[in-house]
C-alpha cells in the first residue's frame, strides 16, 4: 500500500538515554524523593516496557521524558541531545484521554500538522490511512464523548502517529478498559508496533500486558524508584495472545519478573508499606493459580 510505505519510509526511530536521574518534589526539608539515581536506555526501534508498583514514580519519569518537568539532577538525552521541553519527537499517551472534546476524531488526528502549518496532500492521505488503520473511518465526524474507551485510545494513537514521533511514550494507556477491550487493544497496539518498529516506551502495572508487549522489560523498585532488573523478552513476533498462556518461555519470564517484584514488595513490606502488603497478598493468590 502506498500510504503504508509513506509512514514506514519516514520513520526515524530515536533512542533515549537516562543517566543518574533524581527527582525530588517540595522544598528543602519537606522534599520527597520520587526518583533516585535512575539510569536506563530506551533502545532504538524496540518496545521497552516499564513495570513497577503503583505510586513508585513511573508517571514522574514519563513527565521527565516528555519534558513537562526537569530532573533535580541527572540527564535525559534523545539521540545524544538533552531533552529540554515538550516536543513532537516524543509524544505521550496518558492514562486518561487527552483528546480535545471540542474536535471531531478527524480534527483531533489532524491537530499536530495543522498546528505546525504542515498540512500537505501527503498528510491528508496519511490521516485517511491512519483513520482506517485504527478502525475509526466511520467515526471521523464523531466527537470524543461519542467514542468508546477503546476507540478513544485508538484515536489518540492515530493523533500521535501522524506527527511521526521518534519515540512514542505511553503511560498505562489501557488501564480502566474492560478485560476484553484491553486484550483487543494489546493485539492492536502490538500489530501497530510490529508494522513500523518505532521506538516505544510503555508503562504498566499489569504483568501480562508487560510480557505480551515487551522486547525489553524494566522492573522498577518501590519509591524512590530505580531500575531493579532488566529482562529481555526474547519471544518471536508477531505475537498472539494465546502464546501468553501456552508458551513456556513466556511463563518463565513471568515467573522471574513476579519473583523480582515480590522481593521488592517484601522489602517495602518490612518497612510497613500498605501497597506492598496488598501486592504480596495478590501475588500469593496469583502464584497459587499458576
Amino acid at each position: 500500500m502506498n500510504e503504508a510505505n509513506l509512514i514506514k519510509s519516514s520513520i526515524k526511530a530515536g533512542e533515549i538515554v537516562v543517566r543518574n536521574v533524581t527527582k525530588n518534589y517540595g522544598a528543602a526539608h519537606f522534599s520527597k524523593e520520587v526518583v533516585k539515581d535512575c539510569s536506563f536506555t530506551i533502545e532504538r526501534g524496540k518496545l521497552t516496557v516499564m513495570i513497577g508498583p503503583s505510586g513508585c514514580g513511573k508517571s514522574t519519569i514519563i513527565r521527565l521524558l516528555a519534558g513537562f518537568e526537569q530532573p533535580t539532577s541527572g540527564t535525559l538525552e534523545l539521540n545524544g541531545q538533552p531533552i529540554e521541553g515538550p516536543a513532537r519527537d516524543r509524544l505521550v499517551l496518558f492514562q486518561e484521554t487527552a483528546l480535545f472534546p471540542w474536535m471531531t476524531t478527524y480534527d483531533n488526528i489532524l491537530y499536530g500538522p495543522r498546528a505546525r502549518g504542515e498540512v500537505t496532500k501527503e498528510t491528508l492521505e496519511l490521516a485517511e490511512f491512519l483513520l482506517n488503520k485504527v478502525g475509526l473511518r466511520d467515526f471521523r465526524e464523531k466527537y470524543p464523548p461519542q467514542l468508546s474507551g477503546g476507540m478513544q485510545r485508538r484515536a489518540e494513537l492515530a493523533r500521535a502517529m501522524i506527527n511521526n514521533p521518534q519515540v512514542m511514550i505511553l503511560d498505562e494507556p489501557f488501564r480502566g478498559l474492560d478485560a476484553m477491550t484491553k486484550e483487543l487493544m494489546w493485539e492492536y497496539y502490538s500489530a501497530l508496533y510490529e508494522e513500523n518498529r518505532r521506538t516505544n516506551f510503555f508503562v504498566t502495572t499489569d504483568i501480562d500486558e508487560a510480557i505480551f508487549l515487551a522486547d525489553r522489560l524494566l522492573i522498577m523498585t518501590n519509591i524512590p524508584t530505580q531500575v531493579r532488573a532488566v529482562l529481555e523478552v526474547d519471544m518471536p513476533r508477531p505475537r498472539k495472545l494465546a502464546d501468553l498462556v501456552e508458551n513456556d518461555r513466556s511463563n518463565e519470564i513471568k515467573m522471574e519478573a513476579l519473583s523480582i517484584l515480590h522481593e521488592e514488595a517484601m522489602k517495602s513490606f518490612s518497612r510497613g508499606s500498605k501497597a506492598a502488603a496488598d501486592f504480596v497478598d495478590a501475588y500469593s493468590k496469583r502464584m497459587a493459580k499458576t
Binding site: 516536543a87 487527552a98 499536530g112
Partner: protein, 291 residues
C-alpha cells in the same frame, strides 16, 4: 443517542402545557373569589386575624389582582397600540445593546485575565472591588456621567451581564485540563494556536453559561432601570420608556390589568431571549449535546 422524535419530549411539552393551564385556572378562580365570595363571608376570618393583632389592610389577597381573562381583554386593547410595541422594542433594544456590549468586552477581558498573569494581577483586584456593587446602584451615577438617558440605561444593563460573563470566562478558562495544554504543546502548537484552538473552545461552554445567566440579569436590570429613570420618556413620550416604564405608567394610571400585561410581556421577552441563547449555545458547542 436518541433517534427520531421520542415520545418523552412530547410528554414534557404536554406536562408543561397542562401546568400552565392549571396555573391560569387557579389564578382565575382566585381573582373571581371577589365576586363569588362577598367580603362579608370573610367576617369571621377578619375578626380572628384582627383579634390576633393583624390589620386587614396588611393582608394580601389574590382577589385584588386582575383575573387572566381581564388581563387578556386588556391585552387585546393594548396590542393595537403602537406605544406598547414601542415599549417592547425599546426594552429589547436596550437589553441587546447592553448584552452584546457585555459579550464583546467581557469575553476578551475575561480571556485576558485568564491567560496573562500581569493582566490578572492588575485587572482582577479592581474588578473584584467593583463587582459587589449592584448594577442598580450605578443608576444615579450613570445618569450623571452619560450624556443621554438612553446611554445610562444601556450602561447599567451592560454592567448586569458584564460581571457574570467575565467571572464565567475566567473560571472556565482556568478549569481547562492541563493535559490538553501538554498534548497541544507536545504536538508543536504555538501560543497563538493554543489560544484559538484550546483555550477558546475549551472556554465556550462557560461563556454560554455566563451569557445565559447574564441575559437573565440584563432583563432584571433593564426593567428596574426604566422604572427608576422614568424610562427616558423624553425620547418618545410615554411610549419610549420600555416595558419597565410601561408597567410603572400603568400603575400610576391605575390600570392594573396593564401592569400584568407588562409583566407577562417581560416574561415572554426573557423566555425568548433565553431560547435564542440556548439555540446559539447548541450551535457553537455541538460536542456537549452528546454526553
Amino acid at each position: 443517542m436518541r433517534n427520531g422524535k421520542p415520545p418523552l419530549i412530547d410528554s414534557i411539552y404536554w406536562r408543561g402545557a397542562i401546568a400552565i393551564v392549571v396555573f391560569l385556572l387557579l389564578w382565575e378562580m382566585g381573582s373571581l373569589s371577589k365576586v363569588w365570595i362577598k367580603w362579608e363571608s370573610f367576617e369571621w376570618l377578619r375578626n380572628t386575624l384582627t383579634a390576633m393583632g393583624f390589620k386587614p389592610a396588611y393582608l394580601p389577597w389574590v382577589g385584588a389582582i386582575p383575573a387572566p381573562t381581564e388581563v387578556l381583554h386588556a391585552w387585546q386593547g393594548v396590542i393595537r397600540d403602537p406605544g406598547y410595541w414601542q415599549s417592547w422594542y425599546m426594552s429589547l433594544f436596550r437589553v441587546m445593546a447592553g448584552f452584546i456590549a457585555a459579550m464583546l468586552i467581557g469575553i476578551p477581558f475575561g480571556l485576558l485575565l485568564a491567560v496573562s498573569r500581569t493582566a490578572h494581577g492588575v485587572g482582577f483586584p479592581v474588578f473584584e472591588v467593583l463587582r459587589p456593587i449592584p448594577p442598580l446602584a450605578w443608576v444615579p451615577a450613570s445618569i450623571i456621567f452619560w450624556p443621554t438617558q438612553e446611554m445610562s440605561i444601556a450602561f447599567v444593563t451592560f454592567l448586569g451581564a458584564f460581571y457574570t460573563i467575565v467571572i464565567n470566562v475566567v473560571g472556565g478558562a482556568r478549569a481547562i485540563d492541563l493535559r490538553y495544554f501538554q498534548a497541544a504543546r507536545s504536538m508543536g502548537s504555538s501560543q497563538r494556536d493554543i489560544f484559538w484552538r484550546i483555550i477558546l473552545p475549551g472556554t465556550l461552554p462557560s461563556i454560554m453559561v455566563g451569557s445565559a445567566v447574564g441575559m437573565g440579569i440584563t432583563w432584571e436590570v433593564v426593567v428596574a432601570a426604566e422604572m427608576i429613570s422614568g424610562g427616558g420618556s423624553q425620547i418618545g413620550g410615554t411610549s419610549g420608556g420600555g416595558l419597565g416604564f410601561f408597567i410603572w405608567n400603568s400603575y400610576v394610571g391605575g390600570s392594573y390589568e396593564q401592569i400584568v400585561v407588562g409583566m407577562i410581556s417581560i416574561g415572554i421577552a426573557g423566555f425568548l431571549s433565553s431560547e435564542l441563547l440556548r439555540w446559539l449555545g447548541h450551535r457553537v458547542t455541538p460536542w456537549l449535546r452528546l454526553r
